[in-house]
């Protein structure tokens, strides 16, 4: 095991032994407090304008957004989007309580299955944990009710996101995660737009290995909550 020799090599370079207890305690304190550094001013906005910035940035990165008034309007928005894209009405959905509470039978042509995605799934519906306005980024932490494969295997990913979960900067999303989930989930994806590659002649093409389309159904639940 080379652990000791590597650590010794580092310490030799730094011209010291293991850190003294007081310094180690200081670094432990820094990790526990995880201080923020400079945060760009662009997302420091009143919440409705953060939501607008989020939408603008998603669209800039080739994602699309439909804004709806409440959860009851989600099935219609999903069905209309799929029809407009000429996609089948069969979707694999995250087994999340908020998604399960949606009145899906209102659109009987939608065939909803719950679980993780398989290679054959064409459309997934995922639950959004948070949106980050700074760059139009979704935060999707893994959990039994939010499988990671839904973000990756389907050609089209639809994310249902409540506007009240949109924050300005990444740091605010980390604090939201720490407050609501606690320990770091196994996997946290920050997703900004659909999959792409510029490996062929440095020219952008959408839809490399992940979803070709990323569509967000944004539920405007924020007005009352923020005031």
């Amino acid at each position: 095991m080379s652990k000791q020799s590597i650590l010794t090599g580092i310490r030799r370079g730094l011209k010291r032994g293991p850190l003294p207890t007081d310094q180690a305690a200081m670094l432990l304190g820094r990790m526990a407090q995880h201080p923020r550094h400079l945060i760009p001013a662009r997302s420091r906005l009143p919440h409705p304008r953060q939501v607008d910035l989020f939408v603008r940035n998603v669209e800039k990165e080739f994602g699309s957004v439909t804004r709806v008034e409440d959860m009851d309007a989600v099935p219609g928005a999903v069905a209309d989007y799929l029809a407009a894209q000429n996609l089948p009405g069969s979707v694999i959905m995250a087994p999340h309580p908020e998604l399960r509470a949606i009145p899906w039978p209102a659109r009987p042509l939608l065939e909803i299955r719950e679980g993780r995605a398989q290679g054959s799934d064409a459309v997934s519906v995922q639950h959004g944990f948070a949106g980050i306005a700074e760059t139009g980024t979704l935060m999707l932490p893994s959990a039994p009710e939010r499988p990671v494969t839904l973000n990756l295997l389907a050609d089209t990913e639809i994310v249902v996101l409540r506007a009240s979960t949109i924050v300005g900067a990444y740091e605010e999303a980390w604090d939201k995660l720490r407050a609501e989930v606690g320990a770091m989930p196994r996997n946290v994806m920050l997703i900004t737009g659909p999959s792409r590659s510029a490996d062929i002649e440095q020219t952008l093409e959408l839809g490399a290995h992940g979803p070709r389309r990323l569509h967000i159904v944004l539920v405007d639940d924020a007005a009352g909550a923020i005031g």
Binding site: M1, S2, K3, I6, L7, G9, I10, R11, R12, G13, P18, L19, L27, L28, R30, M31, H34, H37, L38, P40, R42, E61, G115, R116, G119, E134, T135, T137, S142, A143, P144, P147, V148, T149, N151, L152, L153, Y170, W174, M184, P185, R186, N187, V188, M189, L190, I191, T192, G193, S195, R196, S197, A198, D199, I200, E201, Q202, G207, H209, G210
Partner: protein, 477 residues
């Protein structure tokens, strides 16, 4: 193993300059990288301050690297993962092989990893009957062509559409021979379809890591394709290859570094997929790996600690330095002869394979300083290249002609009045000799220089003389 051709840099560079395909690729792709970074930077007023922040975070992490690595390991263990400490490439290769063999792996998918190239893991796995499949589009074609990447974030930087088509036709013989490749999209779709079944069938997924986070025990990968995520999500075992200097203290530290990474690299505000992986599948999870291994690799890094090259360990592998380098832009990445090209490679490669083999690289620089001016963590790359030149000189690796020339120059440089006298005599003499044509087609002892261009005949006096004259006239102080 990749045999380093860095000692043959000069020959490589000559060949690169007359390689029409390469020159076409360089002319097309170089300027677009520069323009995209400039646009991203212009769009973020705080960018210069963020570079300072990024530098300071990495310096703090390096100054306490032993502490943070141990803290990181403790968190990985807590979340069900395992850390394999490896002193060199051989230990790292063996560690990866042992993990693969323990689960009876037959195929392994791979996300793009420069440390994977550095330790040449693919060859090692193949030798032991395990098939590695590169899944990043650029790495995929590089693997099909048995080449090294020519760029650290755009492995197939040197290839053109016709190369892609030719390689795909040769490799995918199960597909109809009369299929058409009309546009880039056709290439992309063929690769996507080919690789989808590999993702689903792989026993082990190997990725690199852009950062490791001590606070949480997480490894971070940054991709645009999603291939890295499929690689680390679908197989039963996930192996992370990471060098020791990737470790940063907290999520906030990593976040600040991520703010400058994509902007410096591809000119995106943020990459499409920035993913934090922490340990094994949790109770109730419907997907994710059941084993999570981090192969933590030193391979020469700890020996750089405390030396003038410690600053190189700040590098976050964005490639801005090579995108802006006039030498890289002229000869491409393969001329550098090993895994890391461009200015960062010119500093790192001598440290990893020896200055005796890679001494040409720090010499292949105009010292224009563009690399340092765009480095997101402010590594003084020209200064570090100069240190390598000094080491090369001290170890008597520099050719006798160069040493003789330097000694000759040094003799005068140490005697300023003699230096001024001699240069003034030379300038006036050459001016006189060349006054008719205004230039020289050849010069004794300067054939290497005049072989590619004419030497202009000096006009007027030397800089020193003119400066002194202006001073006397009160024009400068």
């Amino acid at each position: 193993m990749h045999i380093a051709t860095s000692p043959a840099f000069k020959e490589n560079a000559h060949a690169a300059l007359v390689n029409a395909g390469l020159q076409k690729a360089l002319a097309r792709s170089g300027p677009s990288f520069i323009a995209r970074r400039a646009a991203a930077v212009a769009n973020l007023p705080e960018f210069e301050q963020l570079r300072d922040t990024a530098r300071d975070i990495k310096d703090h992490a390096l100054a306490n690297l032993d502490f943070y690595l141990e803290a990181y390991e403790a968190k990985v263990l807590e979340t069900g993962g395992k850390v394999h400490w490896c002193a060199d490439a051989e230990e790292a290769r063996d560690a990866v092989l042992a993990i693969c063999q323990a689960v009876g792996a037959r195929t392994v998918t791979k996300g793009k990893s420069m440390i994977g190239e550095e330790i040449a893991i693919n060859d090692h796995l193949e030798k032991h009957g395990i098939t590695p499949v590169e899944t990043d589009l650029g790495e995929y074609i590089i693997q099909l062509r048995h080449e090294l990447p020519s760029h650290i974030i755009a492995p197939a930087f040197h290839l053109n559409m016709e190369d892609w088509e030719e390689t795909f036709r040769k490799a995918h013989t199960d597909l109809p021979a009369d299929r058409q490749f009309n546009e880039r999209r056709d290439i992309l779709i063929e690769a996507r379809n080919k690789l989808r079944s590999k993702f689903l069938a792989a026993d082990v997924g190997i990725t690199g890591a852009n950062f490791l986070v001590a606070e949480t025990g997480s490894s971070i990968i940054v991709t645009n394709e999603g291939n890295g995520d499929l690689t680390q999500t679908l197989p039963r075992v996930h192996i992370v290859l990471a060098s020791i200097e990737k470790c940063v203290p907290t999520l906030e530290d990593a976040t600040s570094l991520l703010r400058v990474l994509a902007r410096s690299a591809t000119g995106q505000d943020f990459s499409v997929y920035t993913t934090f992986s922490t340990g094994v599948r949790r109770p109730g999870d419907l997907d994710g790996p059941e084993e999570y291994h981090v192969v933590l690799i030193d391979n020469g890094r700890s020996a750089m600690m405390g030396t003038e090259f410690q600053e190189m360990l700040r590098c976050i592998r964005c490639a801005a330095c090579m995108n802006h380098c006039p030498v890289y832009s002229a000869v491409g990445g393969h001329a550098y002869g090993w895994v890391y090209p461009g200015p960062m490679g010119s500093v790192l490669t001598p440290g990893l394979i020896g200055v005796d083999k890679a001494g040409h690289l720090p010499n292949a620089s105009t010292f224009c300083g563009k690399c340092e001016s765009v480095c997101p963590v402010r590594i003084p790359l020209p200064k570090l290249m100069r240190h390598w030149r000094e080491r090369e000189f001290e170890r008597h690796l520099t050719p006798a002609t160069v040493r003789g020339g330097l000694a000759f120059w040094g003799f005068f440089a140490r005697r300023p009045s003699l230096y001024r006298l001699a240069t003034r005599a030379a300038a006036l003499g050459l001016g006189l000799l060349g006054r008719r044509k205004g230039r020289f087609k050849s010069m004794p002892l300067a054939g290497g220089w005049t072989g590619g261009r004419d030497l202009p005949a000096p006009e007027g006096d030397t800089f020193f003389a003119r400066y002194a004259k202006a001073q006397r006239a009160g024009q400068v102080r």
